[in-house]
């Protein structure tokens, strides 16, 4: 393992960032992938993405994080954006109630475009602005419980919980994928067929450089 090169990984997971304009999607991305926060960042229009490779449950996971525009009218042009995504961070701004109210609409967007098994995590960003808070943490918690999502409040500015949010969702994705792989293996051996031709959403590859079916 000491000789691993950069592009070796066990899994490649595509995660999309969604949520209203200005909730801090781009800064969550830069905080996680480059440990940077930019107070003067440009508003995102097309697609931006960055990757980071990390260890999740003993596996090397390459996380590919995608970021796009948040304005409502952009929603209809993003079906290609969701393609192949196995996780989504649905971000709102804890100081802007409207961005929390729109979370339900974003979930519908996910149900319309993304894979039914996509792992979704609700993220209340800008927790450093607690004095301006307009969405109580309990509301975020209650909503995510109701919808069966994981939940965390983060601060991309102060680097609070961003790492944890990604670790949580990546671990959850990994568990889902392992279970699926296992189930597929079992059903394959039970029916006496080989693994070939079995549909698994995310393929595992030990040291291959292109061990992914999530990125493309």
């Amino acid at each position: 393992m000491a000789h691993r090169v950069d592009n070796e990984y066990d899994y490649l997971f595509k995660i999309v960032l969604i949520g209203d304009s200005g909730v801090g999607k781009s800064n969550i991305l830069s905080r996680f992938t480059r440990n940077e926060f930019c107070l003067e960042s440009k508003s995102t229009i097309g697609v931006e993405f960055a990757t980071r490779t990390l260890q999740i449950d003993g596996k090397t996971v390459k996380a590919q994080i995608w970021d796009t525009a948040g304005q409502e009218r952009y929603r209809a042009i993003t079906s290609a954006y969701y393609r192949g995504a196995v996780g989504a961070l649905l971000v709102y701004d804890i100081t802007k109630k409207q961005t929390f109210d729109n979370v339900q609409r974003w979930l519908r967007e996910l149900r319309d475009h993304a894979d039914a098994n996509i792992v979704v995590m609700l993220v209340g960003n800008k927790s450093d602005l607690n004095h301006l808070r307009s969405v109580p943490e309990e509301d975020g918690q209650a909503f995510s419980e109701k919808e069966g999502l994981s939940f965390l409040e983060t601060s991309a500015l102060e680097a609070v919980n961003v790492e944890k949010a990604f670790h949580t969702i990546l671990s959850e994705i990994h568990q889902t994928v392992s279970k699926k792989a296992l189930a597929a293996q079992e059903s394959a051996s039970a029916s006496g067929r080989s693994m070939q031709g079995t549909t698994i959403n995310v393929a595992e590859s030990s040291t291959a450089t292109k061990g992914s079916c999530c990125s493309s």
Binding site: S21, G22, E40, S41, K42, S43, I45, G46, V47, F49, T51, Q64, A69, Q71, E72, R73, Y74, A76, I77, A80, Y81, R83, G84, R108, E109, R111, D112, K210, S212, S215, S216
Partner: protein, 415 residues
């Protein structure tokens, strides 16, 4: 007095010559290299070409690039001066403002050509050729207002139109103004004037003014970048406003920026088809990968490359766009793919496609390299063919958007 003096492009950046909206810190030409920073990567220390350099570009943007970018930019600057001399020489020969005479629109058929004077025809051809080689920055406001039809558009309303529009919108809050206020500090923060209070106030007036002029468009993210660059070029706020108006109302296809961006969807589909025709190998390779061109091209078509290409390269595209129309965007977008054909055919991951294209556009400091590809290597596309293709796609897009609304509302009822 024509031709007695050779004006330098640098004059364009000298605030003392004209009432400018913004000043560069340097009174003449922006200096190239302000700070040279080494990347942390060790190998870069020994390769000067990969060294990261922060410099100010031709329109005052603080950008990061490598030493090659700086060298190219210096060459471009020299070429702009040469091109300026060509324009002044023509002015001396044909008279000042010769290019403001009526021109033959590329949309008009050959029938009207016969009724035009030969001199007008000659001027149109000369102008077209000249504009493809670039309009000198100092002449851009005048030339753009004329060839785009913005001057004509303005002449149809009272002179006080813009001032009254701005007065009428003062103190009003709409969803558009809220989104605009949100985006102002996030519009090219790397430009000192756009990052200033004055710059943002000016950009706000243009965007808010337009959102009231056309409530169907209101404000669409991306227009902030377009309007900002227009302000930097036109220097007079009202001129920037009229350029924005003519762009959205006449130059581009309709509904590019309205609530569903349907015009933009249409352009994306047309582009996909053109890519298959003009660059079939790339198109089929990307198709096999499941790469949708709209992932990169949406930003190109909505920001008109202003967010992707270096400023002077973007403006060279806009020179031709205002003179020849929206099909120019297809030429340029195809060229960017074509330029990297070999690399694109080699890669296997969607992420790498985005990486290659974004890196390519970011370092495209040589506008001539891009435009040569766009017009000589891509070959001609008639406006007629594109119009037909748009009509075809329009039906498909409308049906798709309609389906989407129905799907979403059924999901709404479910939960």
């Amino acid at each position: 007095m024509f031709g007695t003096q050779i004006r330098d492009v640098a004059d364009d950046f000298n605030p003392s010559r004209r009432r400018t909206l913004w000043n560069t810190p340097n009174k003449s030409m922006p200096t190239t290299t302000h700070t040279i920073r080494y990347n942390t990567g060790k190998k870069n220390l020994f390769n000067p070409h990969l060294m990261s350099v922060k410099f100010e570009d031709l329109y005052g943007f603080m950008v990061e690039g490598n030493v090659d970018d700086v060298n190219v930019l210096n060459e471009v600057r020299e070429r702009i001066r040469e091109q300026g001399r060509v324009w002044w020489a023509l002015e001396a020969n044909k008279g000042a403002n010769w290019y403001l005479q009526p021109k033959i629109s590329s949309n008009e058929g050959m029938i009207s050509v016969t009724s035009l004077k030969l001199s007008v025809l000659t001027n149109t051809i000369t102008l077209r050729r000249l504009i493809r080689k670039g309009v000198p920055p100092v002449l851009r406001p005048k030339v753009w207002l004329s060839v785009s039809g913005a001057a004509k558009k303005r002449s149809t309303v009272p002179e006080t139109y813009y001032d009254e529009l701005i007065r009428a919108t003062e103190g009003k809050t709409t969803p558009a103004t809220r989104q605009i206020d949100h985006d102002l500090p996030r519009t090219f923060p790397c430009h000192p004037w756009l990052n200033s209070e004055e710059g943002q106030a000016s950009l706000r007036r243009v965007l808010v003014g337009y959102s009231f002029r056309d409530s169907e468009v209101g404000y669409c993210q991306g227009l902030n970048y377009v309007a900002a660059l227009l302000l930097l070029v036109m220097k007079k706020e009202e001129d920037a406003f009229w350029m924005l108006a003519v762009l959205l109302e006449n130059v581009l296809v309709s509904d590019c920026y309205t609530d569903t961006l349907s015009g933009c969807h249409v352009e994306q589909r047309v582009f996909k088809d053109l890519l298959a025709k003009k660059c079939p190998r790339i198109a089929s390779h990307l198709e096999a990968m499941g790469f949708d061109v709209s992932l990169v091209a949406t930003e190109w078509f909505l920001c008109l490359f202003s967010k992707s290409l270096p400023s002077e390269t973007t403006l060279r595209v806009w020179d031709v766009l205002f003179n020849e129309g929206a099909k120019v965007l297809f030429h340029v977008a195809l060229a960017i793919f074509k330029m990297r054909e070999d690399d694109l055919l080699r890669i296997q991951h969607i992420g790498d496609v985005i990486d290659i294209l974004q890196t390519t556009t970011h370092h495209l400091y040589d506008p001539d390299e891009l435009l040569t590809f766009a017009f000589d290597k891509i070959g001609s596309m008639t406006t007629n063919t594109i119009t037909k293709e748009r009509k075809k796609q329009e039906t498909v897009v409308m049906a798709e958007l309609d389906q989407r609304i129905r799907r979403l509302s059924s999901l709404k009822m479910d939960g």
